[in-house]
Symmetry: C2
Subunit: 211 residues, 2 copies
């Protein structure tokens, strides 16, 4: 059995790549697991899809990123909590979620692709932002570690069901249903060192939730 085959509730598992891409488009933070001296380590970082790759970045001074840059096996977990299934008992209640787990290893983005990969990261966080700011300098590019991992070995579980309460509970007086979360309301705050004649740009005003 491979590690992307479900052992429980296989009906929740999907091989739908479009559903994976939708999750990666709605949730920017991934949790990257690796083995360090025999011990598991899990760290969060922005994970962005670029075609058939996941791209992450950090400082060239990041010890953990240098560790996985050498190709150590990793597991990247990306999760969205979409709400709560409120059943008529605590036992049948659950979170509504989408959970992707990807296995593989990261390698460095080749130098010729580095600037384009950084643009993909910036646009993922603030669409339109790259047209509002200057280009990265060679020094900034040199200080940035960009890593990519192919999207090949992955699984996706989507839990979005109505309560399955036993008949006794359905006949009772407890409520049941879904609480669903939308995009969080966002607020925009000028930097303390901002000149007062510079209004927040389109890219910033357009942002709603990023998770």
């Amino acid at each position: 059995m491979t590690r992307t085959e479900p052992t429980r509730l296989p009906r929740l598992m999907t091989r739908d790549r479009a559903a994976l891409d939708a999750l990666l488009a709605s949730t920017v933070v991934g949790h990257v697991g690796f083995v360090d001296d025999g011990q598991p380590v899990v760290l969060p970082t922005a994970v962005v899809r670029w075609g058939d790759q996941l791209v992450i970045h950090g400082s060239t001074g990041s010890r953990w990123m240098r560790t996985i840059a050498a190709g150590a096996p990793v597991c990247v977990s990306v999760t969205a909590v979409d709400g709560v299934l409120v059943a008529r008992s605590a036992f049948e209640s659950a979170l509504l979620y989408r959970s992707a787990v990807l296995f593989g290893s990261f390698g460095p983005v080749v130098e010729d692709d580095a600037e384009a990969a950084l643009d993909v990261l910036t646009e993922r966080l603030l669409p339109g932002r790259i047209r509002e700011v200057r280009r990265p300098t060679p020094k900034e590019l040199a200080a940035t570690l960009l890593l990519a991992m192919p999207i090949s070995e992955w699984s996706l579980r989507v839990f979005d069901e109505w309560p399955e309460d036993p008949a006794d509970d359905v006949a009772g007086s407890a409520w049941a249903g879904h609480v669903r979360f939308g995009d969080p309301p966002t607020t925009v705050h000028d930097s303390p060192d901002l000149r007062p004649d510079i209004p927040a740009p389109a890219s910033v005003r357009a942002v709603t939730g990023i998770r």
Copy 2:
């Protein structure tokens, strides 16, 4: 050097237990990493603080939970994305976040504590819910695997800073500041099998964002 000592940007690291508790109160999903046959695996699950322990639960049929129940070393990562630091360049821009990383191992919750631990989990998701639903049955308790891990070896990084743009960029015309996320708007949906005379209860109406 221990694994909870920072190698980079040590100013972001805090030992403030109240700040850790606040993060655990705002973010319910944790990513649990363990080593399975030499490979890293990271899976999401609801992580709830009960005093000085983290509690997780699942079905007794869950293979991965049974694996870590035996005391394998784990790393639990809990992350909140609070917004975006929008600097005047892509390079200086970043996510605003709080990130807790806890090391240790899980063991079973003793039978006498199981029902109380389940109540803590339910109340974490929907405060007040346990007064609105019946008690768990012995059969339900027997089907639930409850695991606890002491909160002892942990680190917390809080990144919440204003842009540190170079003077040339500050003198330019690009905007800079924060975009901050609030609680996501929630919507409530009756279960298809709900009797029409049962309104959504206080616990459900009170929920805003759970992440």
